[in-house]
């Protein structure tokens, strides 16, 4: 049993090794690159699942997590190590990340077929998976931050994978910079923690917080800074703007980013450092409210988008908001449970949508519809995912969302509760809107409806498996709460469950009425809502706001500094340099070039010197 624990480091290491191998030899492997990546990720996934039972036994027996590490850096007397720490939280994350990554990679074999940089794609995917796994098992803040940034790097590389597209490059850059704003928050939190405690270890920090060594204001500041990092990675309002643009990447990348890796890291971080948040009521309030606002805002924006991949992107923001909301009202279990189920059904939705994109070659709702006749399996998997997302029992999303709503209601904060329930209604509407418009209605596709087929088998298999997961994972709430040891999934009786379900059904019904009944379409909704709809459609002008309020002033400042550097500082320096020249010019006038004059001056000087010396000598 311990033997398996001793090789737990292989879980993150194998995908990283795959990355190294693919970087060195990828171009020679060609199509084999995918299988190498899948093999290594697969072994890691199997290992992650097998670890569950011995590690949780170890956790219960020893009352502390399994730890393994090696000294990486010596700073004075502080030793920073890299390694593996297996807590309940990590044990939950490892299978989620590795299994989803494995399925996405299998799917990508079909999706990316024929791409010129096929091996490179799988190299990045391996690095992405490995970094996320290494992040998850971190025993200290330094390792967490290292792989936190590596995850960011991978998303940069993958979003910008199709480098010929200017849009992709811009989106990649935006993702990196916006998340980096959050990262700086996390970094400052780490620095402050290190300055206060002299350690990077989670255990030491949490102990310092719980033993009230650190001041209340200080803890709140640290918690908020950490949350800034989490909000950046998990695309919470107002740092969510990168996520929809990240749709420029290939769809498997989107699936990976949105389901298991990148965005999950933020929620994971808050759950991991939950004791710090728990020590500050203000920080908890902020987390809960930001979560609820993100959930609601993103859901409203999702209503009006015509790029269906973007709708799902906003849906991710919205669902991540739910997770933050769950954590913010104090239930790690609810938040992490929703993270688990969401990972499965969101991956499924992306893969299904990806299959449509792969076949129809468009992401615009206006250009494609009525695919039911051609892509029945895809449609079915999509609707399973949609049911899970909208929270219809017994699909996965119902159980976890119910847990969060129950936690909110039991905390008694009605503002949060209203936002939470409203979002349920909106969620159901926007996801079924896509479903109805994509698969029903007029039969058309941009390159000819006749050319559309079911996606290749390699893509269908992962979709099928995930569909099963979207149905099944909801029943593992008990296991998850036992694993985390953070209390059961909150329950608040039938009322919440029924209300949520009814709201979801209303949403579905509204979507049905709007999009499948003739004579009543989106135009009517837009007319009905008027400027509100435009606000949804324009994403509340947040991007424009950033452009006008942040980006342009910064660039203007940069241009100003560039000018000033040349005009003021450099000119000052140049003038100092020119001054001796000018003085020289002046003095040079006295140089007539006439030897007689020089001699005369010399003679007079000698006379004066003699006089001075005579007077001086006579004294």
């Amino acid at each position: 049993m311990d033997g398996l624990l001793a090789v737990s480091w292989l879980v993150p290491f194998l995908p990283l090794l795959a990355f190294a191998l693919l970087t060195l030899f990828g171009s020679r492997l060609g199509q084999g690159a995918a299988w190498l990546s899948i093999l290594f990720t697969g072994v890691a996934a199997v290992l992650a699942v097998l670890l569950l039972s011995p590690a949780s036994t170890y956790l219960q027996d020893q009352q502390h997590p399994y730890q393994w590490g090696f000294s990486w850096l010596q700073i004075g007397s502080v030793t920073v190590s890299l390694g593996v720490s297996l807590t309940g939280l990590n044990l939950l994350m490892l299978p989620i990340v590795s299994v989803i990554a494995l399925l996405v990679q299998v799917y990508a074999v079909g999706y990316m077929h024929g791409d010129a940089r096929y091996p490179r794609f799988f190299a990045y995917m391996s690095l992405f998976t490995g970094s996320m796994l290494a992040l998850v098992v971190s025993p200290n803040f330094l390792q967490l931050y290292i792989f936190w940034e590596m995850v960011g790097l991978c998303s940069y590389l993958l979003i910008g994978f199709w480098y010929q597209r200017s849009q992709a490059a811009k989106a990649a850059k935006k993702a990196f910079i916006v998340t980096r704003i959050g990262d700086v928050g996390l970094l400052v939190a780490i620095f402050l923690i290190f300055a206060a405690t002299g350690s990077f270890e989670f255990s030491a920090v949490i102990q310092a917080v719980q033993s009230r060594q650190l001041g209340g204001g200080f803890v709140t500041a640290i918690a908020l800074l950490i949350f800034l990092g989490a909000a950046g990675k998990s695309a919470q309002f107002p740092l969510h703007v990168w996520l929809p643009d990240a749709m420029e990447g290939p769809t498997p990348v989107s699936a990976l980013i949105h389901a298991a890796t990148m965005v999950a890291a933020g929620v994971y971080l808050v759950a991991l450092t939950f004791p710090i948040f728990a020590a500050s009521a203000a920080a908890m309030q902020v987390v809960a409210w930001i979560g609820a606002i993100s959930a609601f805002l993103a859901a409203t924006i999702a209503l009006a988008q015509t790029d269906f991949k973007r709708v799902i992107a906003y849906s991710t923001i919205s669902q991540l908001g739910y997770m933050m909301l769950g954590l913010g009202v104090g239930s790690i279990t609810a938040g992490m449970f929703h993270l688990t189920t969401h990972a499965v059904f969101k991956a499924l939705l992306f893969l299904a949508v990806g299959a449509v994109i792969h076949e129809a070659d468009t992401q615009e709702l206006d250009e494609v519809s009525g695919l039911w006749g051609k892509m029945k399996i895809t449609a079915i998997t999509f609707f399973i995912g949609a049911l899970a997302l909208s929270g219809i029992p017994p699909f996965a999303g119902f159980w976890s969302k119910d847990g969060i709503l129950a936690a909110v209601v039991s905390q008694g904060n009605w503002g949060l509760a209203v936002l939470g329930f409203l979002t349920v209604l909106l969620t159901a509407f926007y996801i079924w809107r896509i479903g109805f418009r994509l698969f029903f209605g007029e039969q058309r596709a941009p390159h000819g409806y006749e050319k559309v087929h079911e996606a290749p088998l390699m893509m269908m298999v992962p979709m099928g498996l995930l569909a099963l997961g979207a149905i099944g994972t909801g029943f593992f709430g008990g296991n998850i709460s036992r694993l985390l040891g953070s209390g059961a999934v909150p329950e608040a009786g039938w009322g919440v469950a029924i209300l949520a379900t009814v709201l979801a059904l209303v949403g579905i019904g509204a979507a049905f009425l709007t999009y499948l009944r003739p004579g009543f379409g989106e135009a009517a909704v837009a007319r009905l809502l008027g400027p509100v709809w435009i606000a949804f459609k324009r994403k509340y002008w947040i991007d424009e706001g950033y452009q006008a309020g942040v980006v342009r002033p910064t660039l203007a400042l940069a241009a100003g500094v560039r000018q000033a550097d040349g005009n003021i500082i450099d000119t000052a320096v140049e003038s100092v340099g020119a001054a001796p020249g000018a003085i020289g010019e002046g003095v040079a006038r006295a140089q007539t070039g006439r030897a007689q004059t020089y001699l005369a001056v010399g003679t007079i000087a000698v006379v004066l010197l003699v006089i001075v010396s005579v007077i001086g000598g006579s004294r």
């Binding site: 850096l73 700073i75 010929q164 811009k170 910079i177 970094l187 620095f191 300055a195 400042l557 340099g577």
Partner: protein, 500 residues
């Protein structure tokens, strides 16, 4: 024979012996330079092999009387702080010689001057006497004048004169403060006049209480000023953009990579240990200038259109991080500073090499005329990206480990906390300008002008310099102990002297 002298002497031997050879073929001079710089590198590696990692004091010490009247010695020695820099210099010079292709005429002069410069830099990092240090300081300056003035582009004479005058004034200040320091130590310490650094450190330590605080502060600030010009630090930077823009690429690489470290090394190795009280008094000022440099450099870089100017300001921003690390005056920060010297010393020459190769291909350094090069030159762009990411402090590259430690140290130093909060914003700006630079160069469609040009990927000879640097950047990032192990005891020694 002292191995340090071998390492320092080999480039000089190459320069002197080469002067007697006819200047016939360009290839001869390339291999001449590569040969001697490689030999110096081998000697430096042997130094590292023989170095006792557990010991913090000076090793391989050699001290001969030079000008006994003034107590000037010809002293060399090495410790954990100078060892990484010695190796770094040797590596960067090898890379500079290997990337010879930019020099199209007068190769002999070029190779010989560069060898003289290497001698000066290697010597500087092992000198243990103030006057010897100063001599090497100047030995570096003179070749750089010719290398920029003869082989540069654009308004190169003006640039060379500006550079030499600016840093020459700083050198004068430095020499005066060195001499004053030696006299101060002799006067208040009661001992003989000496310029030997270890002896001076002891004398200053013993006499510290008796020396007027104002004098100490003035001496420290004078030295810091002179050293900050070399780094460069805001507002003493205005020579740097011109030089980094006009110098030939290998020279720009050497100047930005290694010569700029002379200043930081001087502060860390001379100004701080000799005047610890003044150093802790003035640390807020160093921190302030460091933070201003970080932000100013980064914002100015964001506004540049010329790739080489962008690198110049980026370099200044990184030097700010270095200074902030030094200003923290604690283990973490100082370790970060040394890491930053090594890291930046590897990254920025690499970036200059890559940018030079881009310039060779696109015939332009203007970001507005570039783009899409990933399609034509994927290997080059890959290296570019890795180096850029290292420059913005991405983990698992040397840049992260350096900046992380420097800032962690600054946050630990109570006098710098507020400044550090502001300085951290540099992380965001650096990400912005680096990614913008990469985006404008590598991503997107090829501009029509470049569509016509036949742009090849890198050749083996072009490839080797940046590749070696990239590998070292990643190696230091993944195994920071490479730099950290020899460093820890020496920093401990230094901090004991500070009473910390």
């Amino acid at each position: 024979m002292n191995l340090l002298l071998v390492a320092v002497g080999l480039p000089l031997l190459g320069a002197v012996a080469g002067a007697f050879l006819p200047s016939r073929s360009a290839a001869l001079w390339r291999w001449w330079g590569v040969g001697f710089s490689l030999a110096a590198l081998v000697a430096a590696v042997l130094v590292a092999v023989q170095f006792d990692m557990g010991q913090g004091s000076l090793q391989m010490r050699l001290s001969l009387p030079w000008v006994p009247l003034f107590g000037v010695t010809f002293g060399v020695g090495i410790n954990g702080i100078s060892l990484p820099l010695l190796l770094l210099s040797a590596v960067v010079f090898c890379a500079a010689f290997a990337s010879f292709g930019w020099i199209e005429e007068r190769q002999k002069e070029y190779a010989l001057w560069l060898l003289v410069m290497e001698c000066g830099l290697l010597g500087l990092f092992v000198a243990t006497d103030l006057i010897l240090f100063f001599v090497f300081f100047e030995v570096v300056l003179i070749p750089s004048y010719f290398l920029v003035g003869i082989f540069g582009r654009g308004n190169r004479e003006h640039t060379a004169i500006k550079f030499v005058t600016y840093t020459g004034v700083a050198s004068a200040v430095l020499l005066i403060s060195f001499v004053l320091l030696a006299f101060t130590a002799a006067r208040y310490g009661g001992g003989n006049l000496t310029t030997d650094i270890p002896a001076l450190t002891q004398a200053m330590g013993a006499a510290e209480a008796r020396i007027p605080a104002g004098l100490q502060t003035a001496l420290f600030l004078a030295m810091a000023l002179a050293f900050m010009v070399k780094m460069p630090i805001f507002p003493l930077h205005s020579w740097a953009p011109d030089v980094y823009r006009d110098a030939p690429i290998p020279v720009a690489a050497v100047l930005s990579g290694v010569m700029s470290k002379m200043g930081a090394y001087g502060i860390l190795r001379i100004a701080v240990p000799l005047l610890p009280a003044a150093a802790s008094q003035a640390s807020w000022l160093l921190g302030l200038l460091g933070v201003i440099s970080i932000l100013y450099g980064a914002i100015a870089a964001l506004g540049q259109k010329d790739l080489r100017l962008l690198l110049a300001y980026s370099s200044m921003s990184h030097m700010g991080v270095l200074l902030l690390g030094i200003a923290s005056l604690n283990t973490v920060g100082l370790q970060g500073a040394v890491f930053q010297m090594v890291s930046h010393g590897l990254i920025i020459p690499g970036l200059f090499f890559v940018v030079g190769l881009i310039g060779l291909r696109a015939q332009s350094y203007d970001l507005q005329e570039l783009g899409g090069l990933w399609q034509r030159s994927p290997r080059l762009m890959g290296v570019f990206l890795v180096l850029g990411l290292a420059a913005l402090g991405l983990p698992l590259t040397s840049g992260f480990i350096a900046e992380f430690q420097a800032f962690a140290g600054a946050f630990r130093a109570s006098q710098l906390q507020v400044l550090s909060f502001i300085g951290v914003l540099g992380f965001i700006f650096s990400a912005s300008y680096i990614l913008w630079m990469v985006e404008r160069t590598a991503y997107g469609p090829l501009p029509p002008r470049l569509e016509q040009a036949s742009i090849r990927d890198v050749t083996a000879m072009e490839w080797v310099s940046p590749l070696v640097l990239v590998l070292l950047v990643v190696a230091v990032g993944v195994f920071p102990a490479l730099v950290g192990t020899p460093l820890t005891p020496s920093l401990g020694e230094l901090l004991r002297g500070l009473g910390g």
